[in-house]
């Protein structure tokens, strides 16, 4: 029907199902009387949604760059706002990552959340709907609705179930993100007034004037840079990460941050290509600063969650570096890095959550020397830690390698400096790992991991190694979309 969209060939609207099934589950929760019933309903909803999203993977056509499983309905005709959904290689794995992490977040909160369990699960499922929606939406307003709707449950997750400084952290999170988003809205309206529609693919690669591109790019970039978060806009992240409950931190780190980089790839590059090229050196510089600055700040952290939060700043710096190297290698690396960071950092937060439930402290020193007491846990923690600093054979290595190759093509200085950052990553992660495993003689009685906790860590561990040793299936899916985007960029800029 549309030239950019392959309509859904399955017998039912697949993407809408994946988006709105959690919402339906959430409303079902409202009728639950007991906490236990609420937890089980939420878990079942989350678990059903994951294989549904896997169907997307198995039915995915890797030969085409078009958006697949398309759905197209009219929404607000007088403003030409439509309900358009579709996914391509860039979004497929981000959706699967989201649906995979949701049941894990529910499992990891099984005993950690004791008050208002029903409402907690309600928020988690609402989050899933909004997050998957952001990745599927092909209409700017639809995208914006999901993008903003996400703030409310996330805010509540931090403000209601958060740590001691939850008020400060939650409000800072909300205001920071909203500040970026309102300019995004203005830019969206500007695009609508120029093209006459809110359609995302139709807005790509058009002859906008350079000054128009500049302003739109800056408005977009502000919103996405806050979400990533890039260097001067990162201060909300440590606060929000530290105070959020484990499930909230996992969602924040694994999915919400990816929306920033996803936004750069989906909006900034194709809609404002000339401005992207113009601003690329500045954004690369900010990325390098984020990588090094994040690494240094991590070295002095004593709070495990804060350390991982700052390491996210550094890791996402690699992703933006890859994107704005404007090379195919860089983009592939950035996409892999997004997935890898989602898995690894999500897993690290889950690990911290496991420890916190037992010792009720996030301080490194309070949790030092767990090696003998919780051997299985330390095994997992070790794996995720070394994957976090891109040890060869783990997932992050592949992503960072691609990014560095891309970066060196463009700028030797940036490449060299980011290698320094990568070494810093090894320093702070190894320091953390050493403390946790061998930090001191500890005679405390702490139970090792339970079966429930194995359930949510093992899939992530498998993924870490699988991606590290055999990334080809992942690259196969993302390639056609990125190659096409790259070709279009080249043709447009020539």
């Amino acid at each position: 029907m549309e030239k950019y969209l392959m309509m859904n060939t399955l017998s039912f609207p697949m993407l809408s199902t994946v988006i709105f099934l959690p919402l339906a589950g959430a409303f079902l929760l409202l009728f639950m009387r007991s906490d236990r019933a609420a937890k089980i309903t939420a878990l079942i909803t989350g678990i059903i949604n994951f294989p549904l999203s896997l169907i997307l993977y198995f039915k995915f056509n890797t030969a085409t760059h078009l958006f697949q499983f398309g759905e197209h309905l009219s929404w607000i005709p007088s403003y030409n706002i439509n309900y358009i959904l579709g996914i391509d290689g860039i979004t497929l794995f981000l959706i699967i990552l989201t649906t995979l992490l949701t049941p894990m977040c529910i499992l990891c909160s099984w005993t950690a959340i004791e008050t208002r369990v029903k409402e907690f699960m309600f928020c988690i499922l609402l989050m899933e709907t909004a997050m998957v929606g952001v990745f599927c939406a092909l209409d700017l307003i639809l995208f914006y609705v999901f993008w903003e709707a996400m703030l409310v449950p996330m805010y509540l997750l931090i403000a209601v179930w958060g740590g001691p400084r939850k008020d400060y952290a939650s409000i800072k999170f909300f205001i920071y993100t909203l500040f970026g988003s309102v300019f995004l809205l203005v830019a969206i309206i500007a695009i609508y007034l120029t093209t006459g529609s809110f359609n995302i693919p139709e807005a790509m690669f058009r002859d906008y004037s350079f000054s128009f591109q500049t302003w739109v790019f800056l408005a977009f970039a502000l919103a996405f840079a806050i979400k990533v978060p890039m260097f001067p806009f990162h201060t909300w992240l440590p606060a929000a990460h530290t105070e959020a409950p484990t499930a909230g931190s996992v969602f924040l780190a694994s999915v919400l941050l990816k929306m920033g980089t996803y936004g750069f790839l989906r909006f900034c590059l194709p809609i404002t290509p000339k401005a992207s090229v113009f601003f690329a050196p500045y954004i690369m510089a900010l990325s390098v600063i984020a990588i090094i600055y994040g690494g240094y700040v991590c070295l002095s952290q004593t709070d495990m969650k804060k350390l991982i939060a700052y390491s996210s700043v550094a890791h996402m710096g690699f992703a933006t570096l890859g994107i704005f190297s404007l090379t195919l290698f860089g983009w592939q690396g950035a996409l892999l890095q997004m997935l890898n960071h989602g898995v690894t950092t999500g897993a690290l937060f889950l690990c911290v959550g496991i420890v916190y439930e037992r010792t009720h402290s996030r301080e490194i020193y309070d949790n030092a020397g767990l090696g003998k007491i919780m051997p299985a846990f330390v095994g997992f923690f070790g794996l995720f830690s070394i994957s976090s600093f891109a040890f060869p054979g783990t997932n992050n290595f592949v992503g960072e390698l691609y990014i560095l190759v891309g970066t060196f093509k463009v700028s030797k200085v940036a490449g060299f400096l980011s290698i320094v950052g990568a070494v810093l990553a090894a320093a702070y992660m190894l320091r953390l790992l050493k403390q946790i495993v061998w930090g001191r003689e500890d005679k405390r009685q702490i139970a090792d991991m339970k079966a429930r906790e194995y359930v949510f860590l093992i899939p992530l561990a498998v993924f870490v190694i699988w991606m590290g040793l055999f990334p080809k299936p992942f690259l196969a899916v993302i390639d056609s979309s990125l190659v096409h985007l790259f070709g279009q960029m080249q043709a447009f800029l020539r």
């Binding site: 703030l151 205001i175 309102v182």
Partner: protein, 464 residues
Amino acid sequence: MMMLLPELSVLCFSVVFLLISLGDKRDNLINMAKSFAIMIFAVSILAVYKEGTLFSGAYKINFVSQLFKIILAYGLCMTLFFLNGKEELEKKFLPEFIMFLGFSTLGLMMLVSADELISMVIALEISSYSLYVIVPLRAGQTRLQLEASMKYLFFGAISTGVMLYGMSYIYGMTQSTFLTDILYAMPRYLGQPVGIFAIVLTMTGFFFKLSLFPMHFWAPDIYEGASNTTTTFIATVPKIAATAILIKLAAIASSATPQFVNVLMVVAGISMTLGNLVGLVQKDLKRLLAYSGIAHAGYIMLGILALSKDGYAAAMFYITVYLIMNMAAFYVIVILSKKGENILVGDLAGLVKKAPLLAVTIGLAAFSLAGIPPTGGFTGKLFLFTSAFQSGHLAIVVIGAVNTVISIFYYLNIVRMSFSKEAAVSEPLKLTSHEQTLCYIFIFLILYLGIYPFGLLGIFKLAV
């Protein structure tokens, strides 16, 4: 006769309560008022397609005016439902209170149909005088109420004076008080400062009703001083009629020079910024909503200053959404205040434990007022921004966008209080089924207008 049905039914309603106030029957009045109000609402819907002119063109009934009458009737209906079993008014004044609400609504209904300057003034005064009287009606009356009502009276009188001054200029230039003639004759004078001056001054009278800068001073004190139900009415219903008239007046000036739009832009920008900044430090929930109302008046001006059909439709849509979300917030105040006292933001603490439904209602209302999707407040703002941007006023759109961020701070405070703060003492608050139903209606409407705005928007687009 059919076309005047809404007005006649409201008039009948008021007269009935006038007669009741002469006797001493005081029982079951509220139920009677409620059933009557539902009837008025139904009658207004029935009369929606009626058209016609009366009094040689001074009174025009068309689709737009009938739509506004439906919304006004809905507002009256809701206000009377809020009154349910509350002891915030002295019982002996109850029939008078209901009567004046009726008269005020009657004035507003006449206002949206008035197509001539003098009838506009008369309609406006009918509605204003009724409100001047009910502001001090509050159980345990103190000086605060009297002061509020005096302020309301004075500001009202001043703004009417300014408006009449502006109207005299219009009459002087166009030799007519009929809007149809003015619409025809006015463009010649719009190039001159005096034309713009006249229209802006005329609009000022309605800025007062909308609590827009520079006629906003009354709002916080009146909101704080008047009883909760009265405030609900003042904060919502007159603003609808004011928007209708401002749209009419702006349409006269649609070919005006940029200076006219600039004046409106300055007014709107200051109103938004001032309302939101002062709103940040408010402790009393009603005062907070007063400043939020000043800011929202600024947002509504975005649609009006666009001077385009899209803009007018957007303004009409937004004022409808505003009616609903504001009423939702006020309803929570009305329920929470057992004896009719004012509610502080701090009193919301622990609301989610006391009454989860109320917490959800006020939370949703707050997010909608702030403009977070998927609520009606977001779609309304989107349409306003789009129409203003379309007419080339990017600056005011950016100011509006920044204001959204400022305002989120105090709206979030409401949410934070109701959801994450624990109360020192908290006893469950049992809601009656009547209260629950109203809350569900508000929740439904706010979300409905956020997700399916096109029905209502389409109707408004058709109307302008």
